[in-house]
Structures are given as C-alpha cells and as structure tokens.
C-alpha cells in the first residue's frame, strides 16, 4: 500500500471523532433549553442513600488497584510486541523460519511468565487473602 493512501482514511477518522464530540456536547448543552434548573443546598449534598455523608470522598484506597494497573501495563506492553509478531508469523513460516520465530516468541513469553508466576505466588493476583 503506498504511503499516502491511508492518510485520507485517518483524516476521515479525525472528522468522525470531531463530529461525535460535537454531537455529544450538543446533547449535553441542548438540554439547557428544556430542563429545569433549581439548585439547592440539599440537592447538591453527595448522595449516600439519603443519609448525611460521613467523611471525605477523597480517601485512600487499596494498594491492590495499583498492583493490577502495574501488571496491566507490563502485559499490555507484551501484547504490543505480539501484534506485529502475529501478523508476520505467516510470512516467516512460509519462508521456512517458522520454528525460529516461534521459539524466539516462546522465550519472550516464558521470561514474562516468570514475572506472572512470581505475582501469583506472592498473592498479588488474589483480591482477598
């Protein structure tokens, strides 16, 4: 595929995104014409099933969320390496390099699975310990 042909496709993606954003924003803004606006102090209290709120919302939360996000970043980067590998796999196999490219990816996955096994063993994947 020549270099420039896809730029038009991306241009239409950009236009599409802008149109959606404008449509969504206008949905939000258009309501001003129809909806009532009677703010009161009681209405704007944070909703806790009708009970007056206790404590602040900006509390500290469990560190497990952090661990999940960290593991996600790592394995997401692994997945990023896998996409070009997967779409090139056929070409490599047809040129007789199939075992080579498979083994090189197996090594890559194996090294990452060491980290996965460590996380599992240390209980980072258990939500309740």
């Amino acid at each position: 595929m020549p270099l420039e042909a896809f730029n038009l496709a991306y241009l239409s993606v950009v236009i599409f995104t802008i149109v959606i954003a404008v449509a969504g924003a206008s949905l939000l803004v258009l309501g001003i014409l129809f909806r009532p606006s009677k703010p009161s102090a009681m209405k704007s209290i944070p909703y806790e099933s009708g009970v007056p709120p206790v404590g602040r919302a900006r509390e500290r939360y469990s560190v497990r969320f952090y661990i999940i996000a960290m593991l996600f970043v790592l394995f997401d980067i692994e997945a990023v390496f896998l996409y070009p590998w997967a779409i090139n796999f056929d070409g490599f196999v047809r040129r007789g390099d199939g075992v080579f490219i498979l083994v090189e990816m197996l090594i890559f996955i194996f090294i990452l699975l060491l980290g996965y096994a460590y996380a599992w063993k240390k209980g980072a994947l258990d939500w309740v310990s």
Binding site: R60, F65, Y66, A69, F81, L112, A124
Partner: protein, 259 residues
C-alpha cells in the same frame, strides 16, 4: 496551504497547548487529563509521519495503560493540588530551570541537524513537516522494498481478488524487529520482568500492612486513616493539625482580648 500542513499545525498546536496544561494546572488529575490529550495529538503527528503502528501504540500504551497507572497512584496517595510538598520546592526551583534549558538546547540541536538540512538550509519556506515527511518517506519506502525483495510477507488467501493491503507499517516493523533486532527484543522482556518483580516487592509491604490493620510500624503507602510514621502524608497531616490548633489558639486569644 496544503491540507496536511494544516492538519499538522492543528495537531502540533494542540499538543503544545495540552503539554502546557500539564505543567500549569494545579490539580494533578487535571494535569493527567491534559497529558491524555497531548498523547492523542502526538499520535496524530505520528500518523502524518506515516508511522501508524507507533501512533496506535502511543494511544494504547501511554494513554491507555501508563496514565491509568498514574491516576491510580494519584488516587492511592491522594496527591493534593497546590504546593503542599514544601520539601521539594528547592529541588524544583533550583534544578528545574537547568533541566529545562538543557532540554531546550537539545530540541534546538535536533531541529537544526535534521529539518534544517533536509530543507536545503531553508527553515521557513517549505516547512518542517515536509522535511520530516520526506525523511519518513525515504525510510519507509526503503523498508517496504526490503520486504518485497524478500518475498511476499502476507497471506494472499485462496480466493482471487484479495487486495494485499497488509504490507503496511506494522508488518515492516515486525519483520525487522523479529529478525534484525532480535536481541533488543528479548532484552525488553527481561526489563519487563524486572519491573513486574519490583512493583510487587514494593507494593507487597503495604499489602502486608493492609492485613495487620493496627501494626504500629507501617511504612510505604498507607491504607488506613492514620498515615505511616515519617511519610509525606504524615507530614501533611501534622502540618494541617498544627495549623488548625494554631488557629484555635488564636481564636481563644482574640476572645480573651475582646473580654
């Protein structure tokens, strides 16, 4: 004005504006949001350079994964807006400008050595996007030629009429990565492994302290209502309580004075 230059200008300006937002906003979550938009605009610039795979990865990994991690950490630590970390002030005000100037010099050097030369010494008229595009175009067409010389990379399918659309940037990049640059690729997995183990080792301490709720010697990221001794959070809480005490005392004093 050519359409591509217009699009480039829009993306570049938005990238600069959102990057400035990252620096200027006080609330760290606003900064993160600004950074998301900056990444999206940089992805747009990558697409103009012909690097569609890198653009997708930019959004997928940086916006989709790393910034989510940042946000989680911010919510975990409850980073407060404004200059609450007084201790870092000297570092920021002293070392920051030096780093800034260093980066500026670096950027100027890069611009002078690449775009300037490619434009034939003319930096204003055929602007830099054209130069960058030419550079990208040359590299890109070279790698595509390599692939075509080495034989068709993509499956053609049994049926006729399938367009070989797939010899794109991604396939070219993958072919190079898994043959020429095999060693760096494998090393990347070891770096990721180290990061995984490091993250778990550091976070595990607070996982342990999470279970022993009343343990007195908690360190690292605190989860309960009482922050760890000696941590930045404890410092912050101490500062606030001492401030409120001082205020109360001052009030008492004024009451006494009025009497």
């Amino acid at each position: 004005m050519a359409l591509e230059q217009l699009v480039f200008l829009v993306f570049a300006l938005l990238a600069i504006v959102t990057s400035l937002g990252l620096v200027i906003f006080k609330d760290p979550v606003h900064c993160a949001l600004s950074l998301v938009f900056a990444f999206a605009n940089i992805a747009g610039v990558y697409i103009l350079l012909g690097a569609e795979f890198i653009a997708a990865i930019q959004v997928l990994v940086y916006s989709g994964a790393i910034l989510v991690l940042f946000l989680f950490v911010m919510m975990l630590l409850q980073v407060r807006p404004g200059p609450s970390l007084n201790r870092l002030r000297f570092f920021q005000s002293g070392f920051g400008p030096v780093l800034g100037v260093a980066f500026l010099v670096e950027v100027v050097l890069v611009v002078l050595t690449s775009g300037f030369v490619l434009n034939g010494g003319n930096i204003t008229k055929p602007n830099n996007t054209q130069a960058a595009k030419m550079q990208a175009g040359v590299e890109y067409s070279v790698s595509v030629n390599v692939i075509q010389a080495a034989g068709p990379l993509t499956i053609q399918g049994k049926a006729d009429g399938i367009q070989p659309n797939t010899v794109g940037h991604t396939a070219a990049l993958g072919k190079e990565l898994y043959s020429t640059y095999l060693f760096p690729f494998e090393v990347a997995s070891i770096i990721l492994l180290i990061a995984a183990i490091g993250a778990i080792v550091i976070a595990r301490r607070s996982l342990v302290s999470d279970e022993e709720e009343d343990h007195p010697k908690r360190r690292g990221i605190s989860l309960g209502s009482v922050p760890a001794q000696g941590s930045l959070q404890a410092f912050e809480v101490e500062r606030q309580t001492s401030q409120s005490q001082r205020r109360k005392e001052a009030k008492k004093r004024t009451v006494i004075l009025k009497k």
